[in-house]
């Protein structure tokens, strides 16, 4: 779950990091009022879950409350990186002496957290040459110790009061990362203003699997309706833009199913991993979700391990009888209780395939035939 910038900053603030004075608002009038309260030049920042907002025109500056109103009116309602702007953050324009980059994230290869810092902040970290990036893997049993802060400061080339600020900031950032189950906490730029380090931006991503124990965080839900319904059933669903609805069991084989459809020239409408051991009822509901997206063809690819073929067959028959299915269904069914599943389907006029790629080719052919 990605947090909006203003939410990330509120979190930073609660942990004692310095953030710019400002407020999230949703109208030009409120923007003018916040600018008047700040009493100095402000920056208007679109609140969308995407980077590169500046390049999309989603960040504007204003010297007066009236200018802030105009800038806010422009930004509100515009589209940044394909996302509609409905909230803006109005905050003081900082006097910038230097811009740093600092982040803590999960390094899957190292199987540990990694601290990334650079004295060349303000731009995409991917564009900063390696020799200007400080990277330190962290041991979850140790966290960030003072010695590591001193070493990071040395390599960033900072000393004195700034180094002291850094050594205060890094352990706090690590605490946020750990206590909030974050996958990423990133400050870019981390602005040096006088002797103060101020988080001018905040990118925070929380591990979805840990949300059950992070009840005090705000909820950001940018999923589609179908994605939300599937998730409620404990299934993972991703909407895509093709016309062949897909259901398979297992993340890998579902990806493989999408690939094979594309290989034969078809376009998958979604990724739906019906998981291992999903029962008849949930499978039937999952099928209904697929139907609700109005596909041209439904393709079901089941290699039954924990998943039982007869459960899947029953689910398909149930939906066919109760809701009616007005699009062609291609089903490949092998594995646990295969004979029973195939027999059930045959009784209801559905012939199951045994081989994955033959079934996929048929699904693509049927989708094409409707052009």
């Amino acid at each position: 779950m990605k947090l909006y910038e203003y939410m990330g900053k509120e979190l930073f603030n609660r942990y004692g990091l310095t953030i710019p004075r400002g407020k999230m608002v949703t109208s030009p009038e409120e923007a003018a009022a916040v600018a008047a309260e700040i009493g100095a030049p402000v920056v208007i920042k679109s609140q969308v879950l995407s980077g590169k907002r500046g390049k999309g025109g989603g960040i504007k500056f204003a010297d007066t409350p009236e200018e802030a109103r105009e800038a806010a009116a422009q930004v509100l309602g515009m589209t940044v990186q394909g996302l509609k702007v409905e909230m803006i953050l109005v905050e003081e324009k900082l006097a910038i002496d230097h811009e740093f980059y600092v982040a803590i994230t999960v390094d899957g290869a190292a199987k540990a957290p990694v601290l990334i810092a650079s004295a060349q902040g303000g731009m995409d970290i991917e564009e900063v040459p390696d020799e200007f990036i400080v990277k330190e893997h962290l041991d979850v049993c140790l966290g960030i110790q003072p010695y590591l802060c001193r070493e990071v400061c040395r390599r960033l080339g900072v000393s004195g009061a700034v180094a002291k600020e850094f050594s205060r900031l890094l352990p706090i950032l690590y605490r946020i990362f750990r206590e909030k189950d974050a996958e990423l906490v990133e400050i870019n730029p981390l602005v040096l203003s006088g002797e103060k380090l101020i988080a001018a931006d905040a990118k925070v991503t929380i591990d979805d699997e840990a949300l059950y124990r992070q009840k005090d965080l705000p909820v950001v839900d940018d999923r589609t309706e179908a994605e939300r319904q599937a998730h409620a059933l404990g299934l993972s669903y991703v909407q895509l833009d093709g016309n062949i609805a897909v259901m398979a069991n297992g993340a890998g084989i579902t990806m493989g199913t999408l690939d094979i459809i594309q290989h034969y020239g078809g376009a998958p409408a979604n990724f739906l991993d019906a998981g291992g051991g999903t029962g008849m009822e949930a499978t039937a509901k999952a099928l209904e979700i697929l139907l609700s997206t109005n596909p041209r063809v439904i393709f079901i690819n089941i290699f039954g391990g924990i998943t039982r073929c007869d459960d899947v067959a029953r689910a398909l028959v149930k939906v066919k009888q109760e809701k009616g299915i007005n699009v062609p269904v291609v089903i490949r069914l092998v594995g646990t209780n295969e004979e029973e599943g195939v027999r059930l389907l045959r009784e209801h006029g559905i012939e199951a395939y045994k081989v994955m790629h033959e079934a996929a080719a048929k699904a693509v052919e049927l989708a094409r035939a409707q052009n």
Binding site: K111, C141, D207, A251, G252, I253, L258, F271, G277
Partner: protein
Amino acid sequence: MAIIVGEKTSVLVQGITGNQGTFHTKQMLAYGTRIVAGVSPGKGGQTVEGVPVYDTVAAAMENHQIDASVLFIPAPFAKDAAFEAIAAGIRVVVIITEHIPVHDEMEIIAFARRRGTIIIGPNTFGIVSSGRCKIGIPPNQFFVPGHIGVVARSGTLTYEIVANLTASGLGQSTVVGLGGDRVVGLSFVDVLEKFERDPETRAVVLVGEIGGNAEEEAALFIKKMTKPVVAYIAGKSAPPGKRMGHAGAIIERGKGTFEGKVKALTAAGARVATLPFEVPELIKEALG
């Protein structure tokens, strides 16, 4: 010979009295796995499928020699159960559980490193030494003894490929599921090294997917291997920025793409199958 586990491996099942634990204990026993004990706090003294149940791992260890443990424990409690197994000194810990928070996974692996424990998973189907020992959840019938080593990130896709291998007369030495999460105990390289040294294994199938850089790292090692490697990578059609079911299967900031992985593997001398059913042909071609 097989890698990591074999016919003599004595197995403990943590969470043995739960639905999944009981069901898979029965399946594993049917496959021939030597399950010697189970653990379920508060259920000590019971038996499941004839297997004695203890309250703690330490209690089970007092009564049995245990080489490996398999966890059927709900995600919120999996870290504690893994710690318990590692602390007790069990050599191999297989974590079937999915949806474990990544911070818990990092803690489990940090502790395992200190104790020299091998962690398989989390979010894995487990490990099968064909015909000898199955620790995990794959359907029994597809895994037959032979000389192909299989290492994979995902479950059902692996069953599909293993079934294809078996149907083509290619049995397996060991099949290892690394797990679909971003942070897992074993990497492809860890397992490839073992297959390279295993006299029983003649060729290796690597089943990867988009996201992370595990396949790219594997490519660096494959370059040095004497045994042929055939790879299949899932997720060619996946759009960037979308998590395809597995926590680890996501293209982020241009990294972890299908093209990058195929390029690295091909350059390293691996044969890359476009579709899963091509894997057996490529293996036969590689073995000459």
